[in-house]
C-alpha cells in the first residue's frame, strides 16, 4: 500500500527504455537494408527462410550485412556497459574502458600481429583479447593493495597505457611502411566483420549483460561511497573486483572485434544518465540499448555518406557525437 503516491518518474523511465529498444530495432533494420548494393525487404526476409533457392543478394545480406550490423550492436552494448560499470565503480566520470588498460593492451597486441605477421590477420581478435586482459591484469597487479583503491587503479592504468603506447610507437617507427595496414583497425570499424566475429563477442555480451543487470543494485550502493556502502552490508572489495573484471571482459571482447573504438565507453553512459538518471537499475539496460543503437547508426552512416568509400566508424562518432553531447549538457536534460 503506497501512501506516498506512485513515483512519477517510473512511467517515463519505462517509456524511455521501451523507446530505446524500438530505436535499436529500427537501427538494425536500417543497417541491414543499407549498403553499396540495393536490397529490398523481401530479400531480407527471404534470407531467414533458409530455402535452398537463394536470391542473388543472399551472400551480401547474410554473410556481410547482418553479421556486420550485429557485431556493431554487440560492440556498442559491451562498450557502453563497461563504461557504466567503470564510472560507477571507480567513481570517476572520466573513466572508460581504456582506463584499465584494455585499449592499450589490445592495441599493442593487434598492431604487432598486423605489422609483423600480416598473414595471421585472422588471429588479431584473439590476440587482441589476450593482450587486453593481460594489460588489465598488469594494472591490477600494480595497483593491488589489500583490495582495489580506485585512484591507484587509475594511475596504474595511465602508466600501463603509456608503456604499451610506447611499444606501439616503436612498431610504427621501425615499420613505417607497414603502418597503413594498421590504421583501419586502430581507428575502429566493422569492415569485413563476419559471423566468426559475432561468435567471438556474443558469449561475452551474454555474460556481461546478465552480470551488469543483476549487479545494478550494487552499483547504486557503491555510488554512496565506500563507507556508507560497507555500512549497508556490501562486501565492497569483492564487489568492486568482480565488477571491474566484468567490465574488462566486456571491453576486451568489444575491442578485439571492432578495433580501438573510442568514445562509446566514455560518452554513452553520460548521455544515458542525462536522459534517464543515475539509478543503475534503469541506467544499465538503457546504456546498453543506446550504445548498441549509436554504433549501428554510426556504422550505417559511415557506409552511406561517401559510398563506396567507408569512413571509419570511430571518426564519424567523434565528429557527430561530441557536439551533440555538448548540446545535451548545456540543456541539462533531466527527466
Amino acid at each position: 500500500m503506497k501512501t506516498l503516491g506512485i513515483d512519477p518518474r517510473v512511467d517515463l523511465r519505462n517509456w524511455i527504455l521501451l523507446g530505446g529498444a524500438g530505436l535499436l530495432l529500427i537501427a538494425v533494420l536500417l543497417g541491414v537494408s543499407t549498403g553499396a548494393v540495393r536490397v529490398d525487404i523481401g530479400e531480407i526476409i527471404d534470407t531467414f527462410r533458409w530455402s535452398a533457392d537463394v536470391g542473388e543478394n543472399y551472400q551480401i545480406i547474410y554473410n556481410i550485412r547482418i553479421p556486420r550490423v550485429l557485431v556493431g550492436a554487440l560492440v556498442g552494448m559491451n562498450l557502453a556497459l563497461a563504461g557504466v560499470i567503470l564510472q560507477g565503480v571507480l567513481r570517476n566520470p572520466l573513466a572508460d574502458p581504456g582506463i584499465i588498460g584494455v585499449t592499450a593492451g589490445a592495441g599493442l597486441a593487434a598492431m604487432a600481429v598486423l605489422i609483423l605477421w600480416p598473414e595471421q590477420t585472422f588471429l588479431v581478435p584473439s590476440v587482441a583479447f589476450v593482450g587486453a586482459l593481460a594489460a588489465t591484469g598488469l594494472v591490477f597487479l600494480l595497483s593491488w593493495q589489500d583490495g582495489i583503491n580506485p585512484l591507484r587503479l587509475i594511475l596504474a592504468g595511465v602508466a600501463v597505457a603509456a608503456f604499451f603506447g610506447g611499444g606501439m610507437s616503436a612498431l610504427m617507427v621501425f615499420h613505417s611502411d607497414k603502418v597503413q595496414g594498421t590504421v583501419n583497425w586502430m581507428a575502429g570499424g566493422f569492415q569485413g566483420r563476419s559471423w566468426e566475429h559475432v561468435r567471438m563477442i556474443l558469449p561475452y555480451t551474454v555474460v556481461g549483460v546478465s552480470g551488469a543487470m543483476f549487479c545494478s543494485r550494487y552499483l547504486n550502493l557503491l555510488n554512496l561511497g565506500d563507507e556508507a556502502a560497507k555500512g549497508l552490508g556490501v562486501p565492497v572489495e569483492r564487489v568492486r573486483f568482480a565488477l571491474i573484471v566484468l567490465a574488462a571482459l566486456l571491453a576486451a571482447s568489444a575491442v578485439s572485434v571492432a578495433g580501438l573504438l573510442g568514445f562509446v565507453g566514455l560518452i554513452v553512459p553520460h548521455l544515458t544518465r542525462l536522459i534517464i538518471g543515475s539509478d543503475s537499475e534503469y541506467l544499465t539496460p538503457c546504456a546498453a540499448v543506446f550504445g548498441a543503437t549509436l554504433v549501428v547508426l554510426a556504422d550505417t552512416a559511415a557506409r552511406l555518406i561517401f559510398r563506396p568509400v567507408e569512413i571509419p566508424v570511430g571518426v564519424l562518432m567523434a565528429f557527430l557525437g561530441a557536439p551533440f553531447f555538448l548540446y545535451l549538457l548545456r540543456k541539462g536534460v533531466r527527466k
Binding site: A36, V54, P118, E119, T121, G192, P285, P308, V309
Partner: protein, 320 residues
C-alpha cells in the same frame, strides 16, 4: 518493468547465441569450371579457376600487371597511380573502393571468380568473408624488380595470353638493359633514398623497392653501410650523423602520397635545412624528388620508366 528488462535482454541475447552457434546456412554452390592451384606471395595455396573470366584487382600494381599479361578486369580500385593509357582503358569499369578500404559488398555484388589483392592486413581481413562467398582471393606482395617479371608470367598463364605476357616481360627487361648499358663502366654512384620529411625520416634499405633498384643498377646505397642493414626492415630511421659521415653523392626523396607540391616542399626544406647544408649532395644541388607511384609502391610495368629516371638522376653525365 525493469524486472522484465533485466531478464528480457539477457534471454534475448542467449537466444541469439543459440541461433548463431547452432544455426546453419545453405552451402554455396560451386561452379563446375576447371580449377588450378595457385600459391600466392604469402604461401597460401588457393584453388582458382584455370581461366578466370571475372577478375577484380584491388590495387594499382596488380591491375597493371594483369593487363600487361593480356588480361582484363571487371572491378578496379579507386586510384590514379597508373599510366595514362591504362587509366583511359579502365575508365568505365566499376570501382570497388580505395586499396586500403575496399567495399566488400561491391566486390561480392560484381560476382567475380578471382580477386587480386596485396599482402597487407586490410586485404587479409577480406579472406574469411570472400571464402564464405566462394570467391578465391590471391594476396600478392611485389617487393622487388624480379617479382614484377615473375608475376606477369604467372598472370599470363591465367589469362591464357602467354605471348602477350612474354612480350611485356621482354619490353621491361629491354628498358632495364638500356638503362644499365648507359651507365656501364661509370664510377659507382653513392646514393641515399629518404622517405618522410627533413625532420623525421627513414632511409630506404636494400630490401625496399627503391633500394632494390639501386642495387640493380649497381649503385651504392649508403644506408647499407650501417650495421642495421642486416635487419629485415625496408625502411629504417638512421641517424643524421651517420648520413653526414657517409656523405652520399646524391640524395633522393620520396614523400608519401602523390601530391607534387609536397614533394617539392620536402626538397626545398632539405636543401635549406642547416643540418644538411654541409653535405656534398646538397652543395652540388643533387637533391631530387622521386615520384611516389614509381618508387614507393611497385610501379609494375612502369618499372622501365622508373629505371630510366633513376639512371638520369644517379649519373647525370650519362644522359648524353
Amino acid at each position: 518493468m525493469p524486472k522484465m528488462v533485466r531478464w528480457g535482454l539477457p534471454i534475448l541475447l542467449l537466444m541469439l547465441l543459440g541461433g548463431v552457434y547452432w544455426g546453419t546456412a545453405p552451402a554455396v554452390k560451386t561452379t563446375e569450371a576447371a580449377k588450378r592451384e595457385f600459391t600466392d606471395s604469402t604461401g597460401r595455396r588457393v584453388q582458382i579457376p584455370a581461366r578466370p573470366q571475372r577478375v577484380i584487382a584491388l590495387n594499382a600494381s596488380n591491375l597493371d600487371l594483369y593487363y600487361a599479361a593480356g588480361g582484363q578486369v571487371i572491378g578496379r580500385p579507386t586510384t590514379v597511380a597508373l599510366s595514362a593509357e591504362l587509366l583511359e582503358k579502365i575508365k568505365s569499369i566499376p570501382q570497388v573502393g580505395e586499396t586500403s578500404s575496399p567495399n566488400l559488398e561491391k566486390i561480392v555484388s560484381l560476382k567475380p571468380d578471382l580477386v587480386l589483392g596485396v599482402d597487407a592486413p586490410f586485404h587479409h581481413a577480406l579472406v574469411p568473408v570472400l571464402e564464405k562467398a566462394g570467391i578465391p582471393i590471391l594476396l600478392q606482395a611485389l617487393p622487388n624488380y624480379q617479382s614484377i617479371l615473375q608475376t606477369i608470367r604467372q598472370y599470363g598463364e591465367l589469362t591464357g595470353n602467354v605471348d602477350q605476357a612474354s612480350r611485356s616481360v621482354a619490353e621491361i627487361e629491354a628498358a632495364v638493359s638500356r638503362g644499365k648499358a648507359k651507365i656501364a663502366g661509370k664510377k659507382t654512384a653513392r646514393a641515399l633514398v629518404i622517405w618522410g620529411s627533413p625532420e623525421s625520416f627513414n632511409m630506404a634499405m636494400p630490401q625496399s623497392f627503391a633500394g632494390n633498384l639501386l642495387t640493380l643498377l649497381g649503385a651504392e646505397n649508403v644506408a647499407q653501410l650501417s650495421v642495421a642493414a642486416t635487419g629485415p626492415m625496408p625502411y629504417m630511421p638512421l641517424s643524421l650523423e651517420f648520413i653526414a659521415k657517409a656523405d652520399p653523392d646524391v640524395i633522393l626523396l620520396i614523400t608519401h602520397g602523390a601530391d607534387e607540391r609536397v614533394s617539392e616542399k620536402f626538397r626545398k626544406d632539405l636543401a635549406d635545412h642547416p643540418a644538411w647544408q654541409g653535405m656534398r649532395a646538397v652543395k652540388n644541388s643533387r637533391v631530387h624528388k622521386l615520384p611516389y607511384q614509381l618508387f614507393a609502391v611497385n610501379p609494375g610495368t612502369q618499372v622501365g620508366v622508373a629505371v630510366e629516371l633513376l639512371v638520369g638522376l644517379l649519373y647525370p653525365e650519362a644522359k648524353r
